[in-house]
């Protein structure tokens, strides 16, 4: 029933760009929540409440997607016709994969290290640095706005997915090491 044809940026009245103003994103989101949230319709009929749930869900999905640098990049590419959300097999250059394997090995070694906390912190910084440089690369390619540049931007996204996963594994290890 809900017919939203606008993309997430348009829906939130934000410019279609990777360098998104996160402050503006959260302000817009709050303004729309005040209009759309089901609690604004709680004393009205079922139909209004149902509609409001659908709109708010769309809003929440839009905000969640645009807030995070990786999903924002993927969404921008999707608008350009490149779907990196549901790829199952990807080809990446061997250098990058070797680097990833090394990073993973150092993650596995941390549990038995002399000072796991310091090592973990160092690895986290390496990962963050890598993520930051991939984001910058992505933005450069994206702004070139040519089909081949979008392809190159998609390669950045695939690499970001690897790094993102590694980042989450660091968090899991952190919980295991310091929580028990």
């Amino acid at each position: 029933m809900m017919d939203i044809t606008q993309n997430y940026f348009e829906f939130l009245a934000l410019p279609v760009t990777y360098q998104l103003d996160l402050q503006a994103l959260s302000e817009r989101s709050r303004e729309l929540q005040k209009t759309l949230h089901p609690d604004r319709f709680s004393h009205l009929s079922d139909r209004e409440r149902r509609l409001s749930v659908q709109y708010t869900a769309y809003l929440n999905e839009a905000v969640a997607t645009l807030k995070h640098p990786l999903s924002r990049a993927q969404y921008l590419l999707k608008l350009k016709g490149l779907d990196t959300f549901s790829e199952s097999q990807v080809q990446l250059d061997p250098m990058f994969l070797i680097q990833q394997m090394e990073l993973r090995e150092s993650l596995e070694d941390i549990a038995s290290a002399a000072d796991p906390e310091a090592e973990l912190e160092q690895l986290r910084q390496t990962v963050e640095q890598e993520m930051k440089s991939l984001r910058e690369q992505f933005d450069r390619y994206y702004q070139q706005s040519t089909p081949s540049a979008y392809e190159a931007a998609a390669v950045c996204v695939r690499k970001m997915q690897f790094i993102d996963k590694l980042g989450r594994e660091i968090e899991v290890l952190e919980d295991q090491l310091f929580d028990e």
Binding site: F11, A13, E31, Q33, P38, S45, Y55, A57
Partner: protein, 624 residues
């Protein structure tokens, strides 16, 4: 056709009627009900002047007793006196083996593994027992407010999973209470604090109740309370402190086997000692055991040592929630303490040490949740149309599906803002496969067996294809109460299957209907009347909201033909509504809803445009 009614300028078509709505804190140890009266939210007392209702239900051959009188019999009549029933809500019988202290009850298992407690009045489910507590609070509210309740906001621990939330909602339904919203306890507490202080910024709510622990990180901004992350343990609370001390007593007494009543006796003594230690450095307790009276000294240091591992568990959850919220420790402006167990000095000092600031305790930690819930209830009932207050919550635990190999594939991650809808596509495993089992689970672990099983249903009628060729889209939708609905659709044929998730250990709608019938003593006629009244209320609601909408936007958003058509449809429903055929009214509501859907959607789109007015053009052009 009926002419449209237009009210005198400045007057609403109906004189403003204040609706009675309450906030209910359905706690593990104590429950409360609060309401906004003359602009102030406060808890309501019983005729004896007490505000806290012990969450204890005793079944006798003569009837049901709830509260203090039931608590007084807890150790002499353990099997018929149910304490801390909240810990059993939404749980299967196998889950309960892991819970300490509940072993005293006699469970009988029925289909689906939902535990029923054997009492002198028959087998009782945790939902029915909770409903008794809610009925008592409802009666108290009716007496204090002198009128029928429009509805209630009922609080639940933020960390409650779908099954526990659904069970709570079922209990309210059984008690004849309309749930305006299930509200997370820490959010309710934040409202009680935030509105008083008109606070802005990030706050942490540390909520340690009798049986549950929650930590929530919220951002407050101009009346909007946005939960950034939540964490906790729905089976950790002050009861566990008591159990730890009771275990120590038992060790001192020689660790002999105890009978059910004695285990409860020791736990009660332990609770007393715990409470004394809040103001005293040590306390002496007399225990009657095996015909002897034994005296034991308990110092605060000893007690702190016993509960230290439990407190550490809560601090770890705090650290994780801050990380999930993406908030640094020094950004937290206030730490709010909620729940009776935060009176324990060791809890306060550990929390202060971790957050590096003195926690706020200015509102009674026992009452703060109910007070906040009542404020929200007042807004939701429509009593404060100009209120800016809005509570935005998150999903506490990830929702997913079982995939091959018993793995849980997450569809919606924890700490996602709700309401939320998300779809994921799956495919078949074998050639010619025509059916698929959809198993919905909740939790953070990789293996399905480590997660909570919420529901299972089968999607049939998939056309036989090669393995991997069919495309099945499963859509999860979570509403503002945190309750889940799941639908599945095979994309090439459009075969659909849909369920509102009812927990594996819950009651189905028929069971609830039966219990409702059984619990009301009135005759069949009354049920029919009640149903008619419900349908009339729904018709009135729809007609009133449409009338209001047409007055506001009828001319700008509808063509003259659409306007005429809608007015005719409204007149038809009005006629049906004045009659006495409940089924016809129900159908009429459905027809008019469908006929006016497009109008509601247009209005929604217009309000989005209005909300963002003034932002659009300049800012988009100003940036490339």
């Amino acid at each position: 056709m009926a002419l449209l009614q237009i009210a005198e300028p400045g007057q609403s078509p109906e004189p403003h009627k204040r609706k009675l709505a309450v906030g209910i804190d359905l706690g593990t140890t104590n429950s409360l009900v609060a309401a906004v009266r003359s602009g102030e939210s406060s808890t309501l007392s019983d005729e004896g002047g007490s505000h806290l209702l012990p969450s204890v239900v005793r079944y006798t051959e003569q009837g049901v007793v709830v509260g203090q009188a039931a608590l007084a019999k807890a150790s002499v009549d353990p099997f018929n006196t149910i304490v801390s029933v909240k810990r059993l809500m939404g749980r299967g019988i196998t889950d309960l083996k892991g819970l300490q202290g509940e072993a005293v009850y006699r469970f009988s298992e029925r289909d689906g593994g939902m535990p029923f407690l054997q009492t002198v009045a028959g087998d009782k489910s945790p939902v029915e027992i909770s409903a008794e507590i809610l009925k008592t609070l409802k009666a108290r509210a009716r007496a204090a407010l002198e009128g029928e309740l429009e509805g209630a906001v009922i609080t639940v621990p933020a960390y409650f999973d779908d099954a526990q939330r659904q069970a709570t909602k079922d209990a309210a339904q059984l008690a004849g209470i309309k749930v305006l919203r299930l509200l997370n306890e820490p959010t309710a507490a934040a409202v009680a604090y935030g509105l008083d202080q008109a606070a802005e910024g990030v706050i942490a709510v540390y909520d340690l109740g009798g049986g549950t622990f929650d930590i929530s990180i919220l951002r407050l901004n101009k009346g909007v309370f946005e939960v950034l992350a939540t964490g906790g343990d729905s089976a950790l609370g002050g009861d566990d402190f008591d159990l730890a001390l009771a275990q120590w007593f038992l060790d001192q007494l020689g660790g002999k086997e105890v009978v059910a009543g004695e285990s409860r006796y020791l736990t009660e003594k332990a609770r007393w000692v715990k409470e004394q230690l809040t103001d005293h450095a040590s306390v002496t307790v007399e225990l009657d055991h095996a015909g002897q009276r034994i005296s034991l000294d308990v110092s605060r240091e000893l007690f702190d040592g016993l509960v230290e591992p439990l407190i550490s568990k809560t601090i770890r959850a705090c650290r994780r929630s801050l990380r999930d919220a993406g908030v640094e420790l020094d950004e937290v402006q206030d730490v709010v303490m909620v729940g009776g167990s935060t009176r324990v000095p060791a809890v306060r000092s550990r929390v202060e040490q971790f957050f590096q600031r003195a926690p706020r305790i200015d509102i009674d930690p026992d009452r703060v949740v109910a007070v906040g819930a009542a404020i929200q209830a007042d807004v939701l009932a429509g009593n404060k149309p100009d209120s800016e207050m809005l509570l935005l919550d998150v999903l506490p635990l990830s929702l997913g599906l079982e995939t091959m190999g018993g793995l849980a594939e997450k569809v919606i991650h924890r700490n996602s803002s709700i309401p939320v809808a998300r779809a994921q596509e799956f495919t078949t495993y074998q050639d010619g496969q025509t059916a698929m089992m959809i198993h919905v689970v909740q939790g953070e672990r990789e293996l399905v067996s480590d997660c909570r099983s919420l529901a299972q249903f089968v999607l049939r009628g998939i056309p036989p294809m090669a393995a991997g060729a069919a495309k099945i889209r499963v859509t999860f939708q979570v509403d503002a109460d945190g309750l889940l609905g799941v639908s599945a659709k095979e994309l090439s044929t459009g075969v659909e299957s849909e369920i509102q998730v009812k927990p594996s250990y819950g009651l189905d709608d028929n069971e609830i209907a039966d219990m409702l019938k059984a619990s009301y003593s009135f005759a069949e006629d009354d049920m029919v009347l009640r149903h008619l009244r419900e349908q009339q209320v729904e018709a009135d609601r729809l007609l009133a909201s449409l009338e209001q909408a047409m007055q506001a936007d009828g001319e700008s958003l509808l063509t003259p033909q659409e306007l005429t058509h809608l007015s005719e449809q409204m007149a038809i429903l009005q006629t049906l509504r004045n009659g006495s055929d409940a089924a016809a009214i129900e159908q009429g509501v459905k027809v008019l809803s469908q006929a006016s859907d497009f109008f509601a959607a247009r209005r929604m789109d217009q309000s989005i445009k209005n909300a963002l007015k003034g932002h659009t053009i300049d800012e988009i052009e100003g940036d490339s």
